[in-house]
């Protein structure tokens, strides 16, 4: 029975432009991450092919489908057990040999497929010209060359996909194994039942290899117990007899055979380039002396551009949104006074605040970061920082999630998906909040300016660098502590590819990072900010006796605050700033000025006066900065942590650990400073 919809599985190595092909076919805006694991979630898209509707599923980028990681398992399971009619494998024209290995694995399973050799423009630049006609003859499947960036070759690709839908699986052997294994496979194949959509030869091979993952997957999907079948004992016999012949590790032998087959095909089709010129960029980025300083400089540059660039848009947006408040007041004039105030002064005001302060920096940071991703810089950062992270018993890729955390901790936490080992992923998630996000930087910078540097840019920059060093240092220490206590274990190993640098696709990156990240995070923050705004207004305006509840709460928190070198209001401001770190200072100002509504002080000097009037000194500022770096994650981040870990326990841990660290640090600083001041 022909279904009305055709399902296409899209597979390939990471960094081959698979997602570009996906987008070209579906016309859908999708996030393309260059970094493996960025597409762990399977993405789906739709397009029409002739009169049929096609559903294309973008599988995670994998080097193989041996199920050594979650990505590979997801890809393999989809290829084997879903009802996909076509598997489209995208390969990198400049690295054909490596990509063919995956193709061969897939062909062995499905018996048919379409090969799309992408990045032909990159290949041309490097004077690599694969003979695609010859490749097609050797593989006996359609082979299409594409330059997905400009859409070249896509038309022909669609034809080949259509052709592949109607063709039946071939029984040819793409990889021929040593004699003993081939014989055993043939014998076992005959005994196996029909597995729809999967080649029996492949199943026989996997049984011989004793691939437990495949066995489990088949058992689950076909609801049979393979170990109890007749042929399983036969498999065992065959395996033993092969051992006698000296073929002990069959899985090893088969992998090697497949790799050599891929090598042979690639050599027959493209001239291998002997010379490998170490990219000049790599020479600088990974050099002993310049490597890490340059990385820091790059990060600093991103911060500077973000902060400076966000100033004017923030002001403009603020003027726009706060200006609208008056209009809003007029609309609500018919409501009772208190409700008016709650809606306008509380909820809308907070909302306007969060949007005007949060949106511009995010709209700059995320695209910048996405450009770094797209161009290939990120793997070099992980490469450089791997040693440090391993001493902290954390995963090398945690360096990247930390970088993302500088933009937004919620995104940093989501980015932890690229870490395969659950233990190390949790460590990365729990410690991500030690990295100050875009929302906390303005607070930290203004306090540095007011209390430490008196406007001197050089000192400000150094101080900021110091704060970042502190947050990185604490992250590493706490990661190590977690590794020794709550999350015991050894660092997992990983072999990482350093992909070639590529020119990022600017427009695509900008649009996608805006839609995917900026709007998404903003949306969640707004959802948290609006009710919080109402609560804060109520606290500030409901009076018990002479004082507002805000004032009373502040005085309850005074003892703990003083111990930490802060005061009750600062602590209260942090607590009420749970929805978004951006509103901490405005809430504090509201407390100090006993006003009923959040205000800001545009002149830094004025703010300085207000703070000093309320008992602030250098130590206070230092403790506030430290607590700003080390405290509980914001509402959006907490929600994201829960979504990623699906565990209340770990979400609580992620809240407690930074907070307790912060409290202890502040108490310590306050105590020590007592000897100096």
């Amino acid at each position: 029975m022909m279904s009305e919809q055709i399902t296409i599985a899209l597979a390939g190595n990471p960094n081959v432009g698979k997602s570009t092909i996906f987008n070209k076919l579906t016309g859908m805006k999708q996030h393309t991450g260059n970094w493996p694991g960025k597409t762990v979630e399977i993405a789906e898209g739709f397009f029409s092919l002739g009169s049929k509707r096609c559903r294309i599923v973008d599988l995670p980028g994998t080097y193989s489908i041996s199920a050594n990681s979650e990505d590979e398992e997801v890809a393999r399971d989809f290829i084997c057990f879903s009802d996909s009619e076509v598997v489209l494998v995208v390969a990198d024209a400049t690295a054909l040999e490596r990509n063919l290995s995956l193709l061969l694995q897939i062909l062995e399973i499905k018996g048919k497929g379409v090969l799309c050799v992408n990045l032909m423009d990159e290949a041309e630049k490097q004077h690599i010209t694969p003979d695609l006609n010859k490749l097609e003859k050797m593989l006996n499947i359609p082979v299409v060359g594409t330059k997905a960036r400009n859409g070249k070759g896509i038309e022909y690709l669609l034809c080949c996909i259509q052709e592949s839908v109607f063709s039946s699986p071939k029984t040819q052997k793409w990889v021929i194994y040593p004699e003993g294994i081939e014989q055993a496979v043939e014998e076992i194949e005959k005994l196996l039942p029909e597995f729809g959509g999967i080649s029996s030869r492949w199943v026989a091979l996997k049984l011989l290899e004793d691939d437990i993952s495949v066995i489990k997957a088949i058992e689950k999907n076909y609801e049979i117990n393979l170990k109890e079948t007749e042929f399983y004992s036969r498999v065992y016999e065959k395996r033993e007899s092969l051992k006698q012949e000296g073929l002990t590790n069959i899985a090893d032998i088969c992998t090697a055979q497949r790799i050599q087959c891929a090598e042979k095909i690639a050599k027959g089709v493209v001239e291998t380039k002997e010379e490998f010129r170490r990219n000049k960029l790599d020479r600088i980025l990974t050099s002993k002396t310049l490597g890490i300083p340059i990385m820091m400089l790059m990060l600093c540059a991103v911060f500077c551009i973000t902060i400076e660039g966000a100033n004017y848009p923030s002001q403009w947006l603020g003027n726009l949104l706060f200006g609208f408040e008056n209009i809003l007041q007029k609309w609500f004039i018919f409501l009772p006074e208190t409700l008016q105030r709650i809606l306008v002064d509380g909820m809308y005001h907070t909302l306007a605040w969060v949007v005007s302060v949060m949106l511009p920096p995010m709209a700059i940071f995320f695209p910048l970061f996405a450009l770094l991703e797209d161009s290939g810089f990120l793997p070099r950062i992980a490469f450089n920082m791997d040693r440090c992270l391993r001493i902290a018993k954390a995963h090398g890729r945690q360096a990247l999630t930390m970088c993302q955390g500088f933009g937004c901790n919620a995104c940093g936490v989501m980015g932890c998906r690229i870490i395969n080992s659950p233990r190390e992923r949790l460590i990365a998630i729990i410690t991500n909040n030690f990295v100050p996000c875009n929302g906390r930087f303005p607070t930290i910078i203004v306090l540095i300016t007011l209390f430490f540097s008196a406007g001197n840019t050089a000192i400000s920059s150094l101080a900021l660098l110091g704060v970042i060093a502190l947050s990185v240092g604490v992250t590493l220490i706490i990661s190590r502590l977690l590794s020794e206590t709550l999350l015991k274990g050894q660092p997992s190993s990983f072999v990482m590819e350093l992909p070639p640098y590529r020119k990022p696709q600017f427009f695509k990156v900008l649009v996608r990072s805006f839609a995917d990240r900026t709007l998404f995070v903003l949306g969640r923050a707004v959802i948290a900010a609006v009710p919080a705004g109402a609560i804060i207004w109520l606290l500030a305006n409901i009076k018990s006796g002479d004082n507002s509840i805000l004032y009373i709460l502040g005085s309850y928190l005074k003892p703990l605050g003083n111990l930490m070198g802060l005061d009750g209001y600062i602590l209260l401001a942090f607590i009420l700033g749970f929805p978004a770190n951006e509103i901490v200072i405005p809430i504090l100002i509201m407390c100090y000025t006993a006003s009923g509504k959040m205000t800001d002080i545009s002149q830094a000097a004025e703010l300085g006066t207000l703070l000093k009037m309320n008992g602030w000194n250098t130590v206070t500022a230092l403790c506030v900065i430290v607590f700003s770096v080390m405290h509980f994650p914001c509402a959006t981040t907490c929600q994201t942590i829960y979504k990623e870990t699906k565990s209340i326990k770990w979400t609580m841990v992620s809240i407690l650990i930074p907070t307790l660290t912060g409290i202890c640090m502040c108490i310590l600083i306050n105590f020590v400073s007592g000897f100096f001041v």
């Binding site: 080097y63 193989s64 041996s66 050594n68 990681s69 400049t94 690295a95 040999e97 490596r98 290995s101 899985a251 090893d252 992998t255 090697a256 790799i259 090598e263 291998t272 380039k273 490998f276 170490r278 790599d282 020479r283 990974t286 050099s287 002993k288 002396t289 490597g291 890490i292 793997p379 490469f383 450089n384 791997d386 040693r387 440090c388 391993r390 190993s493 990983f494 072999v495 990482m496 590819e497 350093l498 992909p499 070639p500």
Partner: protein, 78 residues
């Protein structure tokens, strides 16, 4: 000799993989098998990991794991 002792920019043949488990599978799938040519390119600022060229791909391998890959030098007259 082992891969972590490889001299930079010299080519070697892989003789045997002593790594086990998931790492072994991963390495083999990436083409690090007996007979493959491998060349050390550059290392990270702290000396670890090291980037190697294997079958046209640049792979970063940690020293402790490279220490489990047995290699032999490519003879000059080849």
């Amino acid at each position: 000799m082992y891969l972590n002792e490889a001299l930079p920019n010299e080519s070697y043949y892989i003789r045997k993989l002593h790594t086990k488990g998931v790492l072994r599978c991963r390495m083999r799938e990436l083409g690090i098998i007996e007979g493959t040519q491998i060349k050390s390119l550059f290392c990270a600022p702290f000396g670890d990991p090291v980037a190697y060229l294997v079958r046209g791909t640049v792979l970063a391998i940690r020293n402790c794991e490279a220490a489990e890959i047995e290699i032999e030098p490519v003879k000059n007259d080849e």
